[in-house]
Amino acid sequence: MDDRGKQLVQQISDMQEEDAVKLARAMLDSGYDPVKLLGHCREAMEIVGKRYEQGEYFLPELMLAGEMLKAIGDMAKPLIKQDAPGAKTAGTVIIGTVEGDLHDIGKNIVTFMLEINGFKVIDLGIDVPVSNFIDSIKEHKPQVVGLSGFLTLAFDAMKKTVEAIRAAGLRENIKIMIGGGQVDETVKTYTGADAFGLNAMDAVSLCKRWVPA
């Protein structure tokens, strides 16, 4: 990697937002290959993800890293002449906050962490009706479905969603993980999910275990 590329990776991964965005701008202005530049961003995100997993970074760092990625992506993407060869995804995950629950901070962090670990994530948003999960599973054929919920009312909504997936004959080929709020092992059993996670690292580990590279 060239010096400027190295510097960009370091600035992003060290949370130097202003410097990183300025450097990326200057690189693009001087004709730096935008596809290569986005590759540096991916590398920086991998470092951020590792630091999060190691307990060095927390939610604020993930949030800022996401902002930097977006800012630089917005500058670089219009300069890309043709679609770069699509990177191979690690697998597809459908995620959403279950019906009746409007919370999304945890879900968004899980989405972010899965994406920087190479998963294609279809985010259905909040208060997602069971039928939306079913339709999306049929369309995208994911390996994993993630059900999120902060409130205790989500326990029943998760159970209902898992049952509907089963009733639609779609349960066999997918793994279902749940998380958020007071979700625990008991709730996992109650809902019929395959696993629960306490945080975004758990979600990544589960998906990696279920979808071998």
């Binding site: 939610l59 949030m63 919370h103 409130l151 007071q182 109650y190």
Partner: protein, 420 residues
């Protein structure tokens, strides 16, 4: 038994329960393990009401709360009306910060939910820091309530003086301002109706021998900045982008939060305040961020409340195990720390001699488990963290709205068997 006799016995019970609670809080061994009944919609569900009905029907909610408290016999309870019964007032105000059952998209029997959003832009920090009251009146209230948009037209008083004060009265007669003021009065009248029922419930339950465990609710400075002003994303980014301004804003809140909290608790004639925390938990912030942006400011709020003779019940949401060594630094026997997922054994070890711990029968057990499991769990908690007092039995974040009644009953009954 004569009515007089019953009254005397209820008053004796009140004193006995309050003593049990205070013994635990002040780190003495009570006669047995105390309990607090805290829930948003559990009492309503127990009596066949939906969440929407609980938010709108003050009288039926009163009956439900009294029945739940009498049946469960906790040593204290957290009043329910101030937690939920504000549906009609929110409608009058066209309130924007919550979605609630039967309003917009939410079903009739779903708990109300806060809408995380940016209610103060980053470039408004200076304005808030210079004049928080002016910001609240001219900017914040119009943003959180559609009916209060015209308040933005009210005079900028710190700069309006002498005969200009007299002249400034003109603003109040503008048709849209007049409408906003009339709406405020209607909202106030509606809230008074609710408060009247709430006060009556408090008196009735006191007469039946049940003390209250919260006379108001207040916050941590960072939570106010994150939840109510900047929104979760804005606040997290501000830890990098607007660090100094965030710290300056919280310096204001360190004074403003206890001022309002103390006033509310004293006006209600009590000495306990509830403080739900949202952003201090493990994983959300690094230890360094916690000791820079969360704890120092929150500790000052706690100390101000304690100085005013108020006992804070702090709900530490999530898992706060890594914070224990930091948060133990409060005057002994003055605070209750109410834990959701934090390991209570570790909490008790770290906080021994400093803080009373409260919690934490899991929500999942109360919703999906059996009375026997709940009883066993409660007894186990008593065995491992009850020694020497300083422990109050409760669920993780209060009784979940969907808990099975028999499980809730089992939790309160089991405490009666946990004798010192």
């Amino acid at each position: 038994m004569s009515a007089g006799g019953a009254a005397a016995s209820a008053s004796a019970l009140y004193e006995q329960r309050l003593k049990r609670l205070m013994d635990a809080i002040e780190l003495r061994e009570p006669d047995r393990l105390p309990t607090i009944f805290f829930s948003h919609f559990c009492a309503a569900h127990y009596c066949g009401m939906t969440c929407r009905e609980a938010m709108y029907d003050y009288e039926r909610l009163a009956t439900a709360v009294c029945k739940a408290v009498v049946d469960l016999e906790p040593d204290a309870y957290q009043p329910v009306h101030p937690l939920v019964a504000f549906g009609p007032t929110m409608e009058i105000l066209d309130y924007k910060q919550l979605e609630w059952p039967g309003h917009k998209g939410l079903a009739e029997d779903v708990a109300y939910q806060y809408l995380d959003s940016q209610y103060m832009a980053p470039e408004e920090y200076e304005e808030y820091i210079l004049d928080p009251t002016g910001f609240m009146l001219h900017k914040y209230m119009p943003r959180v309530a559609g009916a209060l948009v015209p308040l933005a037209q009210l005079p900028m008083y710190p700069g309006v003086l002498h005969t200009r004060i007299v002249q400034s009265m003109e603003a109040y007669a503008r048709p849209e301002v007049r409408r906003a003021l009339e709406t405020l009065i209607r909202a106030g009248e509606e809230m008074q109706k609710m408060r009247t029922v709430h006060n009556r419930v408090a008196q009735e339950l006191k007469d039946l021998g049940f003390p209250m465990a919260a006379y108001g609710t207040t916050h941590a400075p960072f939570d106010v900045a994150a939840d109510y002003l900047r929104g979760s994303k804005g606040a997290m980014l501000d830890l990098f982008r607007n660090k100094d301004r965030l710290l300056m804003l919280m310096d204001k809140l360190v004074t403003l939060i206890p001022r309002a909290g103390i006033e509310a608790v004293k006006a209600a004639g009590g000495n306990m305040v509830f403080i739900p925390l949202h952003w201090g938990l493990d994983g959300f912030m690094s230890p360094k961020q916690f000791t820079t942006f969360f704890w120092p400011q929150f500790q000052k709020v706690l100390l101000a409340l304690i100085d005013a003779g108020i006992y804070p019940h702090v709900l530490w949401e999530g898992d706060c195990t890594s914070r224990l060594d930091v948060i133990k630094d409060v005057p002994p026997g003055k605070c209750v720390y109410f834990f959701e997922r934090t390991n209570l054994v570790k909490a008790k070890e770290a906080l021994r001699g400093a803080v009373c711990v409260r919690g934490n029968v899991p929500a999942s057990m109360l919703i999906t488990g059996t009375p026997n499991e709940v009883r066993e769990h409660g007894k186990k908690l008593f065995d491992v963290v009850g020694d020497g007092g300083g422990f109050i039995l409760d669920a993780g974040v209060g009784i979940p709205d969907e808990a099975k009644p028999e499980n809730v009953l089992a939790m309160f009954q089991c405490a009666k068997e946990c004798v010192y």
